[in-house]
Symmetry: C4
Subunit: 482 residues, 4 copies
Amino acid sequence: MTEARSASKSGGKSEPAPSIVKFNIGGKKFETLSLTLKKFPGTRLASLHPQADEYNRDTGEYFFDRDPIAFGCILNLYRTSSLHFPDHLCGNYLREELNFWRIPESLVSECCWTVFFNAEQDNQIFRNLKKTFSFLDKDPRLNEAGKGGMELWMHRIWLLLDKPNSSRAAKIWSTFYMFLVFISVSLFCAQSHPTFRVARADVSHTMRNITNPKIRMYHETNMRPELYWLDVACVVVFTVEILLYLLCVPDKGRFYKSFTNVINFILVLVAWAAFAMEMTMGDELLDGKGVTYWTYGTLKLLLVLRILRFFRLSQRYSSLNVIVLAMKASFNELILMVMSFFLTATIYGCVIYVVEIHSNSFNDIPVSIWWAIVTMTTVGYGDFYPLSGVGRTIGTFCAICGLVVLSMPIAIIAANFNNFQSRNEERQQRRRGNQNTPVKKIGWMANVPIIHQYTSNPMDPNSLSTKAKIKMITTKPQNRNN
Amino acid sequence: MTEARSASKSGGKSEPAPSIVKFNIGGKKFETLSLTLKKFPGTRLASLHPQADEYNRDTGEYFFDRDPIAFGCILNLYRTSSLHFPDHLCGNYLREELNFWRIPESLVSECCWTVFFNAEQDNQIFRNLKKTFSFLDKDPRLNEAGKGGMELWMHRIWLLLDKPNSSRAAKIWSTFYMFLVFISVSLFCAQSHPTFRVARADVSHTMRNITNPKIRMYHETNMRPELYWLDVACVVVFTVEILLYLLCVPDKGRFYKSFTNVINFILVLVAWAAFAMEMTMGDELLDGKGVTYWTYGTLKLLLVLRILRFFRLSQRYSSLNVIVLAMKASFNELILMVMSFFLTATIYGCVIYVVEIHSNSFNDIPVSIWWAIVTMTTVGYGDFYPLSGVGRTIGTFCAICGLVVLSMPIAIIAANFNNFQSRNEERQQRRRGNQNTPVKKIGWMANVPIIHQYTSNPMDPNSLSTKAKIKMITTKPQNRNN
Amino acid sequence: MTEARSASKSGGKSEPAPSIVKFNIGGKKFETLSLTLKKFPGTRLASLHPQADEYNRDTGEYFFDRDPIAFGCILNLYRTSSLHFPDHLCGNYLREELNFWRIPESLVSECCWTVFFNAEQDNQIFRNLKKTFSFLDKDPRLNEAGKGGMELWMHRIWLLLDKPNSSRAAKIWSTFYMFLVFISVSLFCAQSHPTFRVARADVSHTMRNITNPKIRMYHETNMRPELYWLDVACVVVFTVEILLYLLCVPDKGRFYKSFTNVINFILVLVAWAAFAMEMTMGDELLDGKGVTYWTYGTLKLLLVLRILRFFRLSQRYSSLNVIVLAMKASFNELILMVMSFFLTATIYGCVIYVVEIHSNSFNDIPVSIWWAIVTMTTVGYGDFYPLSGVGRTIGTFCAICGLVVLSMPIAIIAANFNNFQSRNEERQQRRRGNQNTPVKKIGWMANVPIIHQYTSNPMDPNSLSTKAKIKMITTKPQNRNN
Amino acid sequence: MTEARSASKSGGKSEPAPSIVKFNIGGKKFETLSLTLKKFPGTRLASLHPQADEYNRDTGEYFFDRDPIAFGCILNLYRTSSLHFPDHLCGNYLREELNFWRIPESLVSECCWTVFFNAEQDNQIFRNLKKTFSFLDKDPRLNEAGKGGMELWMHRIWLLLDKPNSSRAAKIWSTFYMFLVFISVSLFCAQSHPTFRVARADVSHTMRNITNPKIRMYHETNMRPELYWLDVACVVVFTVEILLYLLCVPDKGRFYKSFTNVINFILVLVAWAAFAMEMTMGDELLDGKGVTYWTYGTLKLLLVLRILRFFRLSQRYSSLNVIVLAMKASFNELILMVMSFFLTATIYGCVIYVVEIHSNSFNDIPVSIWWAIVTMTTVGYGDFYPLSGVGRTIGTFCAICGLVVLSMPIAIIAANFNNFQSRNEERQQRRRGNQNTPVKKIGWMANVPIIHQYTSNPMDPNSLSTKAKIKMITTKPQNRNN
């Protein structure tokens, strides 16, 4: 700070006029000592000289057609050697200005870097949202042009099956599909309960020595026939759907890359395999041994995966996608949470085992770790709990540690979700606004056909190609100034 | 960015003076290249020409009586093709300025849209609060004018019953009513406990085969007579109240639309129907079969709805309304929470059932889903818990998943409530401030009767009709400049 | 907005020069149409005329020595009829400016009222903190002047007992006192456990019919003698302390108003009463009936209140006071939380009772409400849990409702605590800074004795009396300009 | 405020020109009354006089080459006697400006101190992060220069063992080491479970009277031999590692100060001591009495500390360090949480003991405090729960109190973690940006070799020595202006 003063003192006296440089930045006047500008050579301001195009000999000022606010901050860099920004300015805009004035970003002071960090984070969020919801932006019906006959029908079937917002029929189908998935999952859950099963006439006697009541139930009873055939009907519909979809999807490659499609395909195969075994084989399916028995059991268990079909819901409820995006963005925090959680649980588990060595509970360390986990998440089943005074003290700290350890990453995850969710709502609000704009504002746009040049992609004015921008500048004056 | 430079280079040399446009925006000077302004045709700035009214030939400037801060941002749009705003400016004010300069909102860059989004959200919150608390703003006593005799009394009774803040008597009545509701609900709760029941002399023998001890108790005992008659007294008061209210309410249509009124009415009917049955019929009410028995039981159970009468409290405690508003505003997040919660619980329920197939617990999938729910909410009753190592690992992730899945929407709901609550406090603070203003500031307002023109509705200076505003501008100068 | 334009059009043409008013606000120039200023009569700007003192005939400007930033916002009010503020400005400063320009606060637009609301909240927080920690600001030793002999010693004993930060001895005494309280509470807790009791030789036979094992223990055993006499020793110290304190406290009136002092006094009386009974009476203390027995039991139970002595800790740990302040500031939210919590719990309790009427659990409604409470707080003891499918569904929603209902007010309470805590840290940082300032900056202050006029209370430069300010302005120029 | 007006009135009339002082602050003009400036003598502005270097006689202005925005705020201090700042300005930058204008920080108004407080907090966070991650900044390979033979190899081995990011081999070693630690901890956990133990042939008969099944197991079974020797192998590797490390570490003093190193050393000693006892002694290790038995048991239990080796993970996962930093920064809040938690738990424990004195549960006060802890953390094992109505009411408030008491400090701890985490991400983003900058921007830097003067430490432009800065100012003009 002192050198600025001293410079002003020494330089100011001898030749006051030449040492002051004047700027006219978009109409706002700035003045500084010429010495000040030499501090950071290589930047645009340091290389100014009176022969430059920007120098106006009449007024003795350098004129730049830029924003004066950012320039004020940048000029302070020369004065005080540290570059601070008010934190209400947009980081993307500041980056542009820094670029223009040729200030390297590394000169921004540590405390004011937040502006750029936040802007970068928001850009990242918008990029992720755009990528995830890109299917909403494209109108697939545009591709129908130039298709005919069979091809057109295949395209339409694909739209019906895969794009719920392409037509009213597609919306109905999508709702019906979700209803079927719900039925199918409910049937899987219900068939595990005795209420929805009937006794088999021919219980194989070899099976009687099974003691597990759950597995006994599967051997001794069948699913109620009406439910069984309802399940088969669901599988039929899913099969028809996946076959039609496979037939009609325009891009077969992407079909195989989609996780949900592959799961869907496998599920249909598994269901038919199990059905075929049930139809063709009899008692050996339940004879409790052999390859057939284990294959059949595994197939039946694999059917539990049908619950994954629900993830198609995310096509309709964008918030589910937002949850997934927020989880991905919080990946580091999730890893950190799980790591620090298990580390703390292991420590407390080992400690409680040692401390409660004389009690009847906490028989081994894995069980003690399970107790620590149940305590740290504050679930507290009550299957294990400390009985000695020392053990209870450790239990207390275990619960508090769990609250603290879990609260820290969860706060960040929740904040990330909040960010994604509000940015998504912003995006939707903007989309609605843009769709309405032409209608509301048609008045001033009516006689301005040239405006389509930049409203063709109104979401992103920055995406104008450099060529288009140059054209805009060079050609428009001729259109207008005549 | 580079084209601005190059434009300055090429254009600057040949004819430097004419290419620069000068603005005087409310006293602040701005300068830019005329080429720059042509970038966005159709906007107000692009259509400027020296014959315009705003052009001042003496100074060579365009004069606009607008705010220079927003203009600075808008001028940057022409310079850099992207429109950024500092995030401390009020979105409503920026929207006005954009309108004035005829910039479509779609040109605002994605990263700076937040300003408008937040303003829109706050406007929404204020609208909701205004609608909900509109009954506080209107003074119902104003309507008494022109009423006489019977009509006036009916109006006063309605005020007494429905507007707790209309008079001291109404406040007392409202407190007494809440006390009665509390008594009535307490009686319903108490009568289910043996302490508050006495044995019946004439227990019908046919009932002895009921095994459920709770239902047996209802058959074998009666409510203590003093409590029974207290309950009847409460019902009498409620009946008188609802009849008086129905008689005196000015707008019968709104009576039937109000949920609480309808509930109130049904409750009174149910209570009298049950009372009538008790008075007229004897043992057959408790004979365990037949329409009479089931009707009586259902009526008795329906009386539980009397707890809904508590929602009248929300008329007195505005924070309860704020909770409801925050829940409504978070409707999407609530749906999302319930959906993702049940989806995750079903997945974990199915998985734990499969994993713990050999244990004695987790008998069917619905029960396993119940376990997953109890674990994810960290309630942890301890009625079910995994016993195998794999099951415990899944239980751990189930609990952590629950914490994460629930924390995300709950953070948003809590933030919404926070917003509504602080906006509501702001509103109340403003109301108090406005009521006090005339008292405190009477000095400078005393000799300015004309000020009532805009303080008649001091809450909302924007609500001045356009006509009034025009009148203000056109007539006042004559009043004053003489 | 359009009228501003049209005004500029019509007014601008006929007589452009006179219609524009120029301002010089602290060096910054503003211009507006004279018509604009007439919109809000009664304000300072509306009453300007060329004969005013502020009018400078040479430049044709009105000069005000005020801040130009706030003036810019206020001028916008005249232009657009709505008063918006950027939200980074300090509300207290804006209020001053509004006062100066005579703009009533009711004209501030609803969306920008937040600035004032936040400033008011922060002022409130600072006021509360100042009041609570006022005892830290005053140095009680200053009062020693003019005291002698007995009086001085009494004063010093009072400081020792009541002001932990008055001297090193007082700090040691305070720590020792806390240690004694800890011992005393620990003894109370320990004496309830059989480990710390010894069998009595003379167990009265009449007592043998007591079945409650806890009360039996008190009859059949005595506290270990070493612990008993340690407890008596603690009571002796507390008695001496309270007597000395009562003797030496300068303001007897405040002694009786302090809650902790009264509790302290009562506790000492109770302890001595119980001790006297133990010393003078024998078996009749434990004969299980009669006034003596019940009196003695009640006295013993009242001793539990000794835990309240811990609240003296708050004198030493300011964070405990901050918790209390945050709770007081969140009083409305706490009431709301408890109210909505019990309301929801009652509803769920009644519903689960009705739904689980056929199960063996949930015997009456009070117990069902207890279940709802245990579920909503996610404590989940497991003493009651639903068994039917419908009951479990209701249990699920009960748990989620609990999370939502509790999360909303708790978020506000936590935010309040955060606010208070960080404002308190700010205050402490400032105090430290101020104490250090004179030391560090002695250089520039050394030859400026007049500066004490405003640094006598460096915390609060606003507290300068108006008289002092006027003196400052009128006298200093003479001191200096000579 | 009024005196400013009145001053303008009186002073303005008599001699309007001399009383106004004009400033040119970096090109922006400010004007104020000369009286105003005299308010705070001792500051730079108060001591201005027309003979000062800064006074420009041609324009009649004082010229300062400083930022005009901060000057505007500071001038307001003279006008209104209170110093407010907009809260978007960086505190570090404001501090510099206050220093320049010689305004003591104590004049900043209480409500606007937040700016400085936040800046100080951020500085603190950056300092802590820099200190913690300093080992990442230094490249240890630079020290290899001038070392040869043995010394070079020792240095390389040290790098391999201690600096995971120094080479690919070191990274592999570090991963392998973590894997070994995982194996070693797993073995300790596993050996407590009967599955991983085999019966001993020679169970000493004297031991049969041990009733505790866990200790019996240790006497009657041995660890499976393959696991036992795997454990020994791990210990061998750890021993070799610690010996090599001890041999090669350049700074032996720091070795003994590191907590993890000492633990590591002790663990190896303990493991070998236990191993030696097992090898040399037989039955007396498990004879249940004597020094040998207890020593051996203690050594075995001490091995649990091997879990602490996991803390070496924090070298690799910086987020773990961030957690530790956040905990340290929240130390006050953690203490507060534990203190208020135990205080509240003790109160509720004593109260529930008194209230439930007639029930069979809550046998003594320590157990009642344990119940209160389990309830307040919402763990709710179900080992104790109230049975009476009053007890349940107290349990309800206990749970709610726990939620409130815990939520307050946890919110601050989570916010602190959030701060540290995002500042750390900022730091990493900046580091990446700086590393990339020279590559991306080589174009404009290529012909500017002098720029290395300030990019040698691009992270910290403020660290330029005063000497270098003066040189920059005094020498560069000569280089350039020629």
